[in-house]
Symmetry: C2
DNA sequence: ATCGCTATTTGTCTGACTAATTATAGACGA
DNA sequence: TCGTCTATAATTAGTCAGACAAATAGCGAT
């Protein structure tokens, strides 16, 4: 039993792929996914630090740092003698980028997708309205550039999807409201998965680019109400498409 | 230099009061407040772990766990050789309950209060509408109970303010949308500070209880649009009052 | 039913070693 | 001579190990 990590070509190992660089991060990720995917239920008590760290072939301190990360995100809570237990879902930081990523790591439930869309539906139209009032020229340029990129690459490519996210992200930024901007990660996640689902159906139901331009035009023209309506339409259609894709997936095969 | 903590009646000490029980939590709190209050600016590099932990009279491992917490909330980022530096504000988890608490620990800026109110203005009316559609009887009862409590204790007491928060919290819960519910801590923070500011002016500008009942009635009657409008009015008035109180505070004395 | 004890578990400390990465100085080529 | 690329060194976070402290849940005695 040498020192260094021991990650060699031995026999058994666990977390392996999808490493997060640092070991505590990767452990946090592994446990985080296990928790949000329901492998551990709220109320469940994790193994004690000694056993758990041993089982994962890491030092106790590395394991503890991972637990601190999860605790900071509200996923677990630990107390002496009581152990570390999974917190009730209501305490989870569902809008945290990492937590969200962990959710999507294991095929999020339909209900979760739906609620994320609902959030978009609430936040984005108002955000667009604020953006129409407050955007500066530089932000407007970035939105335009994003849409052009999106047009060139199409949503079938990662570059195109990134441009899509950039657009929505910039709208949030243009609201000049920091807490609102924080939601961009969640919105971004919803956007990404909307697109992925739509892409699974070969025929992408509708070309969303004209709808994006309408939002852009309203923001460019500094017309809040118009921007709100355009965004409402855009998000609503995305929601419909996702719903349809999901229905087709679970309902009947091709 | 004995072992145990050394928190005795010695000479100098730092973090002291406001302890969070566990030491790593209290360090995280101390640093967290220092960061959100601007004592450390984004981009600033913290002392290396050895020096920092020494200066705080804690072990390196405890200090490191604190840093993991801050990193999990997006406040800092650390890399070997580069050190631990404060992340750009855009990465901060502004809606995290603890981060929010740290903000309010050091008199939040007017701009921050405003943006939080803006968020309320966006989220709560829609939430009320959803709640009107989806609330169950138990939740409705909790809302009613909260308002009665609020009426009895008035907003001058902590019990009354807690009831106020309970009401808004239950509305969020009744939306049956988990990500939305996550925002309750942020909303709650805004609610709490609205009230505190209003209370500073002796004459509380307006009795908000009737407005609360209007929201309740609409939710009870399952009328989404009515609930949305009532909540819009309620939050709008709160916003006005807070603005007025702030203006009076910074503008001219009594 | 209450109180006090004990065993378990997290929390903290120490100190050493590892690994990553920046920065520096040097070699090489334009 | 200047610029660029490359090995090397120095710094810092990351990991590990094992011991001890503190808190508390659960149990047994009263």
């Amino acid at each position: 039993m040498v020192k260094g990590k021991g990650s060699g070509a031995d026999g058994e190992f666990e977390r392996e792929e999808g490493f997060s660089g640092r070991i505590h991060g990767s452990i946090a990720r592994t446990l985080g996914i296990a928790i949000v995917s329901g492998q551990y239920a709220p109320g469940d008590v994790l193994n004690n630090e000694i056993d758990a760290s041993e089982k994962l072939h890491v030092s106790r301190s590395a394991y503890r740092e991972a637990i601190r990360i999860l605790a900071a995100k509200g996923l677990v809570e630990s107390r002496p003698k009581a152990g570390t237990r999974v917190s009730p879902r209501s305490r989870w930081s569902l809008l945290d980028p990492e937590v969200l990523a962990w959710f999507f790591e294991a095929e999020p439930s339909e209900a979760f997708l739906t609620s994320l869309h609902e959030l978009r539906m609430i936040v984005e139209p108002s955000a667009a309205a604020l953006a129409a009032e407050r955007r500066n020229d530089e932000q407007l340029e970035r939105m335009r550039a994003a849409l052009i990129q999106m047009q060139q690459h199409t949503l079938a490519t990662e570059a195109g999807r990134a441009a899509d996210r950039d657009f929505h992200d910039t709208v949030l930024e243009a609201t000049d409201n920091e807490p609102l901007r924080t939601l961009s990660s969640s919105i971004g996640a919803a956007v990404r998965w909307t697109t992925i689902f739509k892409q699974r159906d070969r025929e992408l139901a509708r070309d969303p680019i004209p709808d994006h331009w309408k939002v852009f035009d309203a923001i460019a023209a500094s017309r809040p109400d118009q921007a709100r309506q355009a965004m409402e339409r855009l998000v609503g259609l995305a929601q419909d498409d996702t719903r349809a894709a999901i229905a087709r997936r679970s309902g009947g095969a091709t």
